[in-house]
Symmetry: D3
Subunit: 153 residues, 6 copies
Amino acid sequence: MNHKIAVFPGSFDPVTLGHVDIMQRVLSLFDKIYVVIGINGNKVPLFSVEQRMEWLKAIFRNESRVAIAAHRGLTIDFCKQVKAGFIVRGLRNSTDYCYERELAQVNRDLCSDIETLFITSTPQYAHLSSSMIRELIQFQADVSPYLPDIVRF
Amino acid sequence: MNHKIAVFPGSFDPVTLGHVDIMQRVLSLFDKIYVVIGINGNKVPLFSVEQRMEWLKAIFRNESRVAIAAHRGLTIDFCKQVKAGFIVRGLRNSTDYCYERELAQVNRDLCSDIETLFITSTPQYAHLSSSMIRELIQFQADVSPYLPDIVRF
Amino acid sequence: MNHKIAVFPGSFDPVTLGHVDIMQRVLSLFDKIYVVIGINGNKVPLFSVEQRMEWLKAIFRNESRVAIAAHRGLTIDFCKQVKAGFIVRGLRNSTDYCYERELAQVNRDLCSDIETLFITSTPQYAHLSSSMIRELIQFQADVSPYLPDIVRF
Amino acid sequence: MNHKIAVFPGSFDPVTLGHVDIMQRVLSLFDKIYVVIGINGNKVPLFSVEQRMEWLKAIFRNESRVAIAAHRGLTIDFCKQVKAGFIVRGLRNSTDYCYERELAQVNRDLCSDIETLFITSTPQYAHLSSSMIRELIQFQADVSPYLPDIVRF
Amino acid sequence: MNHKIAVFPGSFDPVTLGHVDIMQRVLSLFDKIYVVIGINGNKVPLFSVEQRMEWLKAIFRNESRVAIAAHRGLTIDFCKQVKAGFIVRGLRNSTDYCYERELAQVNRDLCSDIETLFITSTPQYAHLSSSMIRELIQFQADVSPYLPDIVRF
Amino acid sequence: MNHKIAVFPGSFDPVTLGHVDIMQRVLSLFDKIYVVIGINGNKVPLFSVEQRMEWLKAIFRNESRVAIAAHRGLTIDFCKQVKAGFIVRGLRNSTDYCYERELAQVNRDLCSDIETLFITSTPQYAHLSSSMIRELIQFQADVSPYLPDIVRF
C-alpha cells in the first residue's frame, strides 16, 4: 500500500461543511485522497449517486490531489484497488467513537496494511450528521447553513 | 508548519508496547516524528526523564525518522519549535476520547495550523495505560508482557 | 419567544411513568407546557395519535398549565407557533445524551431564541424507553408497572 | 429459580468466536447453560434458525452441560420455563453497556429472581458484532477468522 | 422552595466564557440566580475567593437578578438557605454527564424539593473546563480568548 | 482455581447499601465469597481497616459463605491465595465500565484462570460511590439512607 494515498469514505447524502472541514485538515498529509461515496444496496439514499458526485467534484474542483469516486462494496476493497495506505474518518462524539473503533479494527483484520486515521470534528460541526440533515430536509427546514454553497436542491 | 513533521507526546512512564505500536502505524506518514516526554512539574514520575529518554532512544535506534526529546511546558509550544504540523495520539476507549477531544480542540485554539491525528489502539493494547502499569509495578506484578524488551528495571 | 412557555416533545408511544415524572419536576418553571406528540411519517406507531392524546389529556386533566397537542414536522416549528422559549427533555443515559446534545444544538441553529433544558431521569425510570416498552408489549409482557394507571389497552 | 442453570441468549446470526469465548469463560459456574436463539418476528435473519441451531449443537457437542434452544418471545419467559436463575451476556463497549444495562433492569422488573451476569469480551473479539459480520458477508468479505471452524457457508 | 430562585454552583477558578454563556441562556427562567463559588477545603484554588467574587460581580453588575456568593459546604445547603428550587449546570460531554447525573441524584436524595436543570454547552465552549484552563495558565499560554474581558491577571 | 470461590474486592470506605445489594445478588453462585478490603498505601482512608472489617463482619454475620479479609497488594494475588476462580464487580455507569473493563483485562493477563463477573447496580444505588459518600460525610450530610443500619459513626 502507498502511504501517500488515502481514502475518505462516506455516504455524503448530502455533503456537509463537516465533510469539507475534515478533508481540508488532512489534505496536506497525502499526495492523493479519494473521496468515496459508499453505495449500500440496503439503503435508499435521499440524493442520487450522480448528484453527490457532482457536488463533491465541484467542491474540490481546484484541488488536484482530490479524486471523487463511488464504490459498491467494502471500503477496504476500494482501498486495495487504489493502493491507499490510509482511511480518514471524522469523530463527532463518543457514540460515534465506539462504532468507528469497531469498523477500523475490522478493516485492519481484513487488510493489515491499511490504517484508519481519525480527526475530531470542529466544534461547530460536531452535531452535524448526514442523517440528521436528511431528517431536517424532509421537514423543509433550512439546512443551507450546514452545507457548502454549491450543495443546493 | 511543516506537514511532514509530527509530534507524539506522552509521559512514557514507562514506555509500553502500546506506545510503540502507535508509532509504527503512523511512521510512514511523516519525514520526522518527535517522541516527546512531557515534563509536568506537578507530578512525580516513577522513572526519571533520563531513563525514559534512554528507553525511547534504544527502541527507535534504527529508525532515522524518529527523534526523542523532553519538554517542560505545553506540547503546542514544542510543536511550534520544531515546526510540526501534526500531533499524534492513540485512543484507547471512550473516556479517553472525551479528554483527548478537549485537548485537541484547545491545541487548535492555541495554534490553528497544528492538527491532532488519532489512531485507535490495537485490541490487545487497548487496556494498557501507563498509570495502570505504574500501579502494577508498585505491587510487584510482572509487567514485562506489556513492555518492549528493552524496558526493564 | 416567551420564557414562561415550554414544549415537552416525544412520541409517547405509549406514555410512561418516566414521561409523567419529568413533567411534574419541571412544571413549576412555566406558565404553560405543551406536551407534543411528534408525528413522524416514516414510523408506524403502536398506538394511534388519538389514543395517545386521550391518555395525555386524562393524565394532566387537573393541571391547567398543561396543554396536549400533536404536530407533524419539526419540534422547533411547533415552538415558534406557540412562542415557547424552552424545550424540555429527559436524559436517561450517556448514549441518550450524545443524541440529545446534537438535537439541542440543531434546534439552537434553527432558532437561537429557543433553549433545551434537560433533567436526568429518576433512577427507577432510567431504563424505560418507549421503544423498549413497545417490544415488551409485542411479546405480551405485563408493562403496567411502567405506565400511569390510565394507560391501559 | 435454580442458580445452577443459566441462559445465554442471542441472535447468533451467525455464531462467532466471541460467543464461544464468553460461553467457555462462564461454563464452570453452572450445571446447565441454555444457548438460546431469540426469534424476533420483525427481523429477517441471514441464516435460518435450523442452521444456527446446527452450528451451536456442533460447537458444543462435547459439552454435556450446554443445551441449544430457540425461543420466540421474551428471554425472561424462556428463563422461567427452564428455571434459570441467571442470564449471561458479553459486554463489548460502552454503547453496548448502556443498552445491556436497560435490558438487565427490565428483566429484573419482570422477574426479580433472575439476574444478568456480564463478562467483558476478550480484546481480539471486542469489535465483533453479528451485525457487522452480516454486513461483511453481504459484501463477500472473508469472515472465517471471526467464526468457529464449523461455521461455514 | 421557591421555583423562581436558582443556584448556579461552580469553582469558577477562573470564570470562563462557558460559564457566562450558560447563565445568559437560563436567566430568563428565574427571578433570582445565585452564582455560588464552592469552597472546598481539600483543594487549593489558583485564584482567591475574593478575586473570583470580584470577577463574577463585575460580569453580572448590570443584571439585577444575579447575586454572587461563596459557600463552604454542600451546594444543597446553600440552596436551602436561599430557598432555591433549582440548581443549574452545564453539560460539556458524556464523561461530564455521568458525574453530573450522580450529583443531581444525590442532591435529590438530600432534598427532594430541589431539581437540577442541565443545559448543553455551546459548541465553541464545550472543550473548556476550568481545570484545563488552569493547566494552560500554569504553562503561560494565552487563555484570554476563553475568558470574559474582565477576567485578566 | 476453584470456580465455586469468588472475591468481591473494594475499598468499602464506607460500606454502602450498593455493596450489600451486589453481594446478595451473586451469593447463590458460589460456595464462598471473600469480601476483600484493598489496602492502598497511597490513599489515606476515611475509616480504618479495622472499622471496615467490623462493619462487613456484622453485615454478613449470618452468611456462612461470606468471609471478610483485608489485603495489601494486587487483588489477583489474593485470588490466587484463596484459589478463587472469579472476581465480582458492580457496574454503575459507562465511565465506570471503561475503567472496569481495563482492570478485568489486566487481571486476565496476570492470571488467565480468573474471570471477572459484572452485575449492573440496582437503579436506586447506581449513583452511590464510596468517594461521593465520603465527600458528603465531610460536609456533615446525613448519609444514613445510603448505608446499612450497622454502619454508623
